[in-house]
Symmetry: C2
Subunit: 394 residues, 2 copies
């Protein structure tokens, strides 16, 4: 078996776990953050830089890559690893999440999802089988089944239906899956209802996947509910399999969700906010566009060992952002990715050294969380923009 | 004397020269191309990358840096070298060229140039003295006097007046120049009139600068006239001083102008066309957006040792450009800069080995020049756009 998860240590006071995930393209020390290479590139960075920043695993978006450059090109170029020149561990998602959030007019039927490309309006039909076939051509180390992932809702019946759809699709994906060197994970749904999550865990684990993901979180629900749902779900997942929380990537969330027993995390957040000038530090987020940085002689984060902080002053970064220089987005991305890989490495070390709770407490005490209202407001705006775009473009 | 130009070899058949320019921040092997870091960054690249691409010297634009972040910030950050973290040889221009081409409502008087910032419409008055003072605060190794640099014109009297203005300003710049570790070059003007160029060389060299630049070329004139003007001017410049041709940077122009005795060249062309998807190769320019690259398995330029060509297929680059991924602009810039530094190194080697003429012939025979009509059409459009912007925004 080429995929193997070895649990090295579990925190006796929290649910935090340290382990090693072995893939055909090398090991991943967990807990691990997975930067998003939506279109086959972690925006602004080269594979060399990713490695030098301590990144061990990246995620490609099947929705984007299926539409452009398309499966044929990637297949003929020797698969996604070779296409993007990343020879480390690689995950692809099923495409479902972007179909629901980005594509136009997505319509779910028992058979799959009908949608229109956000690029050219062309019609496509994504089935569980097709999601697997595409991902088998891409050849990532970890692949995901098509799931029904609705935005946050308190409608129990709707969430139950989505969960059940997810279960039926999971079976179809598993049946179609051929390339056994790729690990097909199972996805647990059920919204923020503990009862549904338990039910989903029971069903999905009964299918015996080599790893399990929690889907349908960080989709607009209050943060408290995210944490609670994980706390109520993770303990029922098998201890000897990796646990992957999809769509989470802020420092405070990574902390909270590691503490609740999750091992892998992917999110575009650290890289997306970087391009907006928002830099991560132990004290919280700061925006480099702020006038206070205009003449700031020191690095943004004096504790940071990244190229950006070791080489440039905050004043220079501020200048680059003011000028909309392309280098700005890259230097900020370097810093944020490094901040997260250092954070994950620190978390892992603290688990192995048996002091995760105090590491966790110290970090969260010093870190100013992003205001819940601001955060949900931003999320709402983002969802509205997606929705408007659909109405307007279709 | 910290600035020194040592001529190592002159081609016996052409005017090509190989030498070494020594600056307080290190040596520059000539002939050399100087990439443009307009706003304190060679767009998309870090200083580390520049060095690894074989770049020995870069140029900052005084106009841009004076407007943003401003002289005070750069001064307080310890000068331009430190601000942009480039510890190699550095040139700044006087700001004049951008005032004429980019700013709004530039009005020349004997005293200087009145203009409005293209950023916020604020009014500024650039004098020869101010151009020197700003550049002394920036602290580059080579600095340039304010000159009167009109676009291409066949109006002899107008060109004579601009030349004479340039001469009077050159004297004022020299008089104001204090920091002797910075080499203030002289600029020769005179349009495409051989008579004026001779006159300008005579006057400017009489002031005894440590290096000489040809200004007012590559400003819309037919290419034949650029070459002829250089051929008629360079032989009258002192052999023991570096000769800098401003605004030239296409491979064929670099070849032609080295052959006519020039040593240093700066231009935004290689980096600007890179961001438009135009890549340089021994065969000529190619556009990576072209459909023929969609499934091209090999590197764009298989003879190239740059990171881009060594790491990625043309198909991947094509994909990145189609997706407007930020990494696209960077990878293309890496290639074009490396193409030019390799070209210059090859030129230099051939001069030292006494076979520049055959190197030159072989290169130009294999290289498809950019169509003159296309080129002047593009230049005209660019100038019109600049002009329209002025009319519209003021």
């Amino acid at each position: 078996m080429s995929h193997l998860f070895q649990l090295a240590k579990t925190c006796p006071k929290t649910g935090a776990r340290a382990g090693v995930l072995t893939t055909p393209h090398g090991p991943v020390l967990t807990p691990a953050f997975i930067p998003v290479a939506s279109q086959g590139t972690v925006k602004t960075l080269t594979p060399d830089e990713l490695r030098s920043l301590g990144v061990e695993i990246v995620l490609g978006n099947t929705y984007h890559l299926y539409l452009r450059p398309g499966v044929e090109i990637i297949k003929q170029q020797g698969g996604l690893h070779r296409f993007m020149s990343w020879d480390g561990p690689l995950v692809t998602d099923s495409g479902g999440f972007q179909v629901f959030s980005l594509a136009h007019m997505s319509q779910i039927t028992e058979d799959g999802v009908l949608f229109r490309s956000h690029l050219d309006g062309s019609e496509h039909f994504l089935t569980p089988e097709l999601a697997i076939e595409i991902q088998e051509e891409f050849g990532a180390d970890i692949i995901m089944p098509l799931d029904d992932c609705p935005p946050y809702s308190e409608d129990f019946q709707a969430m139950r239906q989505a969960m059940e759809q997810t279960h039926r699709w999971a079976e179809r994906c598993q049946r179609r899956h051929r390339r056994q060197e790729q690990a097909l994970f199972g996805i647990v749904q059920g919204g923020t209802f503990a009862q549904l999550r338990r039910q989903s865990v029971e069903f999905i684990t009964s299918l015996d996947f080599p790893g399990y993901a929690l889907g349908g979180l960080s989709v607009g629900e209050p943060k408290r509910l995210t944490y609670d749902t994980i706390a109520e779900t993770a303990p029922f997942l098998p201890v000897d399999k990796p646990r992957y929380l999809m769509g989470v990537g802020s420092p405070e969330d990574l902390m909270e969700c590691v503490a609740r027993g999750m091992d892998l995390f992917d999110s575009a957040l650290p890289t997306r906010i970087a391009r907006n000038g928002t830099l991560l530090a132990n004290e919280g987020r700061c925006n480099i566009r702020n006038a206070c940085f205009k003449n700031w002689d020191r690095a943004i984060d004096q504790n940071c060992d990244c190229y950006t902080c070791q080489t440039f002053s905050a004043a220079y970064l501020h200048h680059l952002f003011k000028c909309e220089e392309l280098l700005a987005y890259r230097l900020a991305t370097i810093h944020n990715v490094r901040f997260i890989t250092r954070l994950m490495a620190g978390i892992r070390r603290s688990i192995l050294e048996d002091n995760f709770p105090s590491f966790n407490d110290a970090f969260l005490a010093g870190y100013q969380r992003t205001d819940e209202e601001v955060r949900t407001g931003q999320k709402r705006k983002w969802l509205e923009r997606q929705r408007k775009r659909q109405l307007w473009q279709v």
